[in-house]
């Protein structure tokens, strides 16, 4: 696995033959799917599909460990806000009463529905971050003719994020070399230390801005506007060809979204009414 700014990508993967734009398009379109799907089993199926794609792409599934605390914290927040802070609703079915708080069936159901809508979005994002390098984002932007200034801004932003991370480690290592050890200190103390890191990080970046600018100006770059897109040679794009497979995949992704909309709004699928999981849960709890 190779570490990138955005995550970990496999060293070799069959997904690398796919054009970066298709991967970005997949993330943008498939992230929309759960917004139109209410039934948790269909959102679970989407998660399984993404997991299969991750396995096929040779992504180390262990990277999901990083997202487990996020998924748990998000799940807990959703469950708490829907049940404990869900309000008083005499019209709902009470499941249980804990310390004077009524837990309603409808609230538990809604919490599950929302959670299963969020999870596929997270998985789609993780899949994208685990199959795309920083350069892929730039290539995808250039492929859809985003202006050079904006693409360059993104490229520099990603590069500078890497440098800020390096600066951050340098500052911390310098502290450790002088005997500083934050082990065993309180969170408030660590937070205070972190806040103080921001001053050198900003100062270094400000100083670096002039070096960056001088380097760019020396290479003949000049600002012609954020949105102007003059014709220019695009070296990076010469390494990425949009093949027939990419056209097919783009069409399949777009078409599956259209099919989803037709099934949802035309034929009434993916709703809560005929959800198997919700029906089963209802029988179990009530």
């Amino acid at each position: 696995m190779n570490k990138t700014l955005l995550g970990y990508v496999p060293e070799e993967s069959p997904i690398y033959v796919i054009h970066p734009f298709v991967k970005l398009f997949f993330m943008l379109v498939v992230s929309l799917f759960p917004m139109f799907i209410t039934a948790p089993e269909w959102n679970s199926a989407l998660i399984i599909l993404i997991l299969i794609l991750m396995w096929y792409s040779r992504i180390d599934i262990k990277i999901l460990r990083f997202y487990v605390p996020i998924a748990i914290s998000m799940g807990s927040v959703i469950l708490l806000t829907y049940t404990v802070f869900g309000g008083n609703h005499p019209e709902f079915i009470t499941l249980v009463r804990v310390l004077g708080i009524r837990i309603y069936w409808e609230r538990v159901r809604d919490a599950i529905v929302v959670y299963f809508r969020i999870l596929p979005m997270i998985f789609t994002m993780v899949f994208f971050l685990s199959t795309s390098r920083e350069r892929d984002i730039i290539v995808a932007m250039r492929s859809i003719r985003v202006s050079f200034a904006i693409t360059y801004l993104f490229a520099m932003a990603l590069r500078s994020a890497g440098m800020v991370m390096e600066d951050f480690s340098t500052v911390r290592e310098a502290e450790q070399a002088r005997g500083f050890d934050s082990a065993g200190k309180s969170i408030a103390y660590k937070l205070r230390r972190y806040i103080m890191y921001m001053v050198p990080l900003f100062a270094i970046s400000l100083r670096r801005s002039e070096d960056f600018t001088n380097a760019l100006v020396a290479r003949g770059y000049s600002f012609t506007g954020l949105l102007r897109n003059p014709k220019r040679a695009d070296y990076i794009l010469t390494h990425y060809q949009f093949t027939l497979l990419d056209y097919i995949l783009t069409a399949v992704i777009a078409l599956s979204f259209v099919v989803l909309l037709i099934y949802r709004y035309g034929l009434g699928y993916f709703g809560l009414e005929d959800s198997l999981i919700i029906g089963w849960l209802r029988q179990l709890l009530i």
Binding site: V77, M125, A149, A157, I195, V199, L201, F202, L206, R208
Partner: protein, 208 residues
């Protein structure tokens, strides 16, 4: 001869002097990119360490980049302010479209302090009580607007919250941004404004 930084008044900091030419240059693109980079890293720290959920945090360090970046670098700081949360929220697992829907809140949180400092000619070095009051009011108003917009419009709109749980997220957003904003903005502005206002990257108007 140029006036030494320490002798510059707040009025002079924001006024384009006669004969002074200010134009957008490569340095502004560079500074915008660097702000996105810093925001990415420090914003992700807040998003990962103190999450309340859906990109709302108890202590969001990224707010300092939004506020201070926009005060110093005008529209370039504002642009950075709405771009970097895509990355910082993204690596913390926030769905892309939730981050996209936060754009107006992130824009306003950067825009309000930048406008207040320019309109009231406040000193970014925070030399007087008036400067502190303008900073405090500007970030408070912008955080209130952000806190009302995001949980009410975005999270409720996506069906992620119940009406009863909206106040928790409003307070979470407001508190997480306000406390972090006050602490970090004051430290950064006191420490670095004196240097920044002398750099060619400093923006007196909105773009240059």
């Amino acid at each position: 001869m140029a006036t030494p930084t320490s002798e510059l008044t707040a009025e002079q900091i924001w006024t384009v002097e006669e004969g002074e030419k200010r134009s957008v240059g490569v340095i502004h693109i560079v500074i915008c990119a660097l702000l996105i980079g810093i925001g990415f890293v420090v914003g992700a720290f807040g998003s990962i360490s103190f999450p309340l959920g859906f990109g709302v945090n108890f202590f969001w360090t990224g707010i300092a980049v939004q506020n201070v970046g926009a005060i110093w670098f005008g529209a370039w700081g504002v642009i950075a302010a709405f771009i970097f949360p895509f990355f910082s929220n993204g690596i913390a697992g926030t769905p892309f479209y939730v981050s996209a829907a936060y754009i107006p809140a992130n824009l306003f949180q950067a825009l309000a302090p930048a406008w207040a400092f320019r309109f009231f000619k406040a000193d970014p070095r925070l030399n007087s009580v008036r400067d502190y009051v303008i900073l405090l009011v500007a970030i408070t108003v912008s955080n209130i607007c952000g806190a009302l917009y995001s949980p009410l419009v975005v999270l409720k709109g996506f069906g992620l919250l119940t009406a009863e749980s909206v106040p928790i997220f409003i307070w979470g957003w407001f508190g997480g941004n306000e406390v972090a904003g006050i602490i970090l903005n004051i430290i950064l502005m006191k420490a670095l404004s004196g240097v920044v206002i002398r750099t060619p990257a400093f923006v007196k108007k909105w773009w240059a």
